[in-house]
Symmetry: D2
Subunit: 343 residues, 4 copies
């Protein structure tokens, strides 16, 4: 059976395993002070065109969101996100655990609208009781979003401009950053991302690594004590080499984008399978997550053959499903899907 | 140059890398529901003789301490530990970040004394103002301690008895558990540990793994919602397979204890090097961490040849140092140390 | 100028000041162990028909909500409330500060609908990813709500039944409890409230006291260590007598309800003033808060004569305002309002 | 029976009750924006010679400590205090609840020694693992201390100088400030206190008020959003007038210091009673708390006649006790004590 349930079903790209093995017995200091982390930082700084960037390697996505947000907010500030933002729904309250409210805005195909953001902020400060409410302290968006959609450069610029007007740092959750940047629909590259926000992360877990997210403060603007802050959050890896080696490898010979492009190619083919079968989509995603709407019959036909996620049952009895491709998706998996009678 | 600075300077035992590679493209669900985690849990339950144990795999030590302690304490409770306990000193306030005070007792070569514990508890409840103070909610000890010392079975039993009398769960930090159990001075095995506490963890990071700590509630006594709690703490690994594979490997063919024994053999040889040179020790450690007291001349002689940690400068000008061996320490490193003129 | 801005513009009912003065030099222990707190608890237990109730006196509303909610939730649980609930909007993130998310449901004239609640809970547990989300741990409603509306007994029973089905404690925020119970629209009394929830509080601050809220666990079901928990939250008053005297007075000769009834009589007259002037209401409130919709001209006419709050500007240019009466509202204030030309 | 158990056994100074009554029906805005708070702030600014001071009124001591400390610390910072500091022992973990560790130094008759402080800071930064530890972010001292002792101006200057060198704000807990300043041993006045720290508070609860502590940032250096921060901590009183009236009264005609002097006069007489009876003291306190060491026979003799606190049983069977005087202590109470046969 082939699984399209998510983009973290396999291990790591073989190059990563190879380099882990090659360097295995090399003695290195812990906590990110190893030579691999140094190498990875250099490579990433080059890739994003930010020679002064502060870079930290963390282990996972929820951890990264919580550590970054809590690290940049003042005590009585909250973070603005759309209702469907990962931090608002699927992080088990990790942001609130650190003491901060997630202030939610409406979502538009998973995206934040600059107009909504500005209206919210204007409304907030127009309400004279605002000192009795959580103060906005940061804007959080995902690229791509939880629905696979991506922001255009113009949209990012609009949001960033409003953030600057209100002195709010803009944080881009890039858990699937590569899959956004590799999309044919993208009109921004990694350097563009770095210049349109105050902090972002490059997701490794979903793009070829065993684990790891690279947090980047493009202008060397990491909060002081951020290392200690990471440790306090339980997010400091003793053998930082594990993260350093992975990111050094992903940023050698453009591997990160190559893997991302593969996932998008597979997603495009997968999308075509459904389109040719006349299956509609819940949302028009240009990235590695696709959301076909299946009938009960189609679901039954695929059962036991292909694994995928069911997101929602629609009132008419059909199901919104999620099929994800990744760096590891094989052509044979797509071929098998094509062979399934119901599609 | 050979480094004895700590026990996490290398990658992972080759068997682990091998199995990571072999299983790399096998598709598995995330978040610890993969077949490797299941296998690892089965193997660990056998090794500790607790068929009903609840087991969770976390990534690192500070994270594990913080997640377990916060998960078992009520809101206004604190955790009792010796002053030199890892949670009291070197975790950047991770316990306090989760809202709990570390209540400290005196240390005796890094260990908690059952008598001290009982006296503290008696004194606490004898003070009629105790409801105005942090309530004791758990006892934390390390096996081995931060000074490399270990508890005897009798000492563990004494502490456990007091814990039971006061209805306090006993938590054993086993970041270096293998190195304690493999010590010739140990009169308790892993099954014994499991039966003398309410929760403990088997450290992987320092004993052959790239990362990973196995948290064990021996009697199936994990707090409800503990999975969600782990996620909230940012401690849930998406690719749980990384942890599952490592622990499954470490608990196949007794690898965990074999690696531990190797480290202890190397430590015994290392200790002999210093003893034969007439170098005194700060503490008599029977495990993989050794604390020779070196003169400034001896320090100078070793500089640039052998790396180690300086813990403290004594009033008389000498230095307390730490030399750690591990599963990865080579005989040639010991030989090189012997060859250093000053020893 | 008369102010209708809120229900805490005056000091305390004269009986309270009188008793404060009479008992002033009587020496009493601190922290709620004084004889007045004991008296107040006895009187409240009688008034609510719960002889075993656990009762604690806190100082203010936000503090009480935060202390109670954090005291009853487990670590990774959140509290369910309607979007307009006080804890969701106007408490500066006090609930999140204590680590818990406020999970919001739609509001219906400020109230939670039992059907919405059940649907939310069913949906939550039907989503197989629920362990990755904040766990529901309590239901919070206000009586009356932030819009002045009140629940019927049947509505409370419906909500309570669902809470019991899902083992969720029901918490009733009674910051203005008296004004709800004294409403002609109320079909439940204080004893009824006590029997239809797991914890509630009787608001003193807005009903005749200088400060103070009486938290009640009707079945003696206070969480253990709740006294310590209050202290930890900074909510324990040294001179507990200040709270004890006030609640003892309010619960002598039915003063609390008498004061409440006065406020409702004044509100009824105030409502009539607007009705007779043909002014529409934003919401039909049967309690002490009234929400007339005024035109810009009406606003201008009242300016400098009568103080009130502006809640919202409507798209058509009119304004939703709030006029509150209280135990202290004088008939002459109503008369003056009647005399204002624009009404 | 006369009680010397603490300095909060009575209500408030009659002038306060009088002014509460006089102003009772005056309508005022809430949350500290009333005219009384404004008046109180003006009077306090004059009394401390700091025309730009930011002043906030909170309700109680633990609440104030927690709100101020959490408001000034960065996320991963802790607060330095002596082991016997109130925040380290008797606040039920309120500081840890807000996420911060209390870093403890030795106490010398309840006081912090500038040399200890400097040595601690030097040692901290000399330890190269310091980024793995809680970062020092503030120094907390009490004036007078929990043992009734006070700092000399020179001692305060020494501590302040070290704080400035390390850029650590100095916070002075003045829960009993008046009783320190009124002591014949004091060589500093309120203006001096204000100039030798970054934030302090003037305790009202123990010096004539029903409740209330005035937090002062002498140089207008309150953290931004501090109002919201107070609300988030549950420490914002709705009827701020209650605090404003009390502090306005205490700072009219020098009442605060007059009350304080009375307490010290009573303490001096009380001390003499014990001295004349040959009773030794645990500590030589120059303020309103006295710590006579009584034998079991003396304790028995006083039982049922005079109330006081027992702090500790000494190894020789005698008891360290605490007798506190206050603004409310009557000469007849001292006379009665003299009449007790055993003294």
């Amino acid at each position: 059976m082939y699984s399209f349930t998510c983009d973290y079903t396999e291990g790591a790209h073989p190059e990563i395993l190879k380099r882990l093995a090659e360097t295995n017995m090399q003695q290195e200091p812990g906590y990110g002070e190893d030579s691999f982390c140094t190498e990875a930082k250099t490579r990433i700084r080059e890739a994003i065109g930010c020679p002064n960037a502060d870079i930290f390697f963390l282990v996972g996505g929820t951890q990264t969101n919580s550590t970054v947000i809590d690290g940049m907010l003042e005590r009585c500030q909250g973070v603005l996100a759309v209702q469907t933002g990962h931090i608002a729904v699927h992080e088990a309250g990790a942001i609130e655990f650190s003491g901060h409210k997630v202030l939610t805005l409406p979502q538009h195909e998973g995206k934040m609208d600059a107009g909504d953001l500005e209206a919210w902020l204007e409304g907030f400060y127009a309400d004279e009781t605002y000192p009795h409410m959580v103060q906005p302290g940061m804007v959080y968006i995902s690229f791509p979003t939880e629905y696979g959609t991506i922001y255009t450069r113009a949209e990012l610029e609009s949001i960033h401009t409003i953030c600057q007007k209100y002195k709010l740092p803009l944080f881009i959750d890039g858990a699937r950053l590569g899959y956004g940047l590799a999309s044919p629909a993208a009109d921004v590259d990694m350097e563009g991302i770095a210049h349109l926000c105050d902090v972002f992360y490059i997701g490794g877990t979903k793009v070829g690594a065993l684990c790891g997210e690279a947090v980047i403060f493009p202008n060397g603007n990491a909060p002081r004590h951020f290392f200690t802050h990471i440790k306090m959050h339980g997010a400091l890896l003793a053998k930082g080499r594990l993260l350093g080696i992975q990111f050094a490898t992903l940023f050698t010979n453009n591997l990160y984008l190559k893997l991302s492009k593969h996932a998008i190619e597979m997603a495009t083919k997968l999308k075509a399978v459904f389109e040719q079968a006349g299956v509609p989509f819940y949302i028009n995603s240009p990235t590695n997550q696709q959301f076909p709407i299946l009938t009960a019959e189609q679901m039954a036909e695929l059962e036991g053959k292909v694994a995928f996620e069911v997101w929602e049952k629609l009132p008419d009895g059909r199901f919104v499903t999620r099929f994800a491709t990744s760096w590891a998706t094989k052509q044979e998996a797509i071929d098998f899907l094509i062979s399934c009678r119901s599609l």
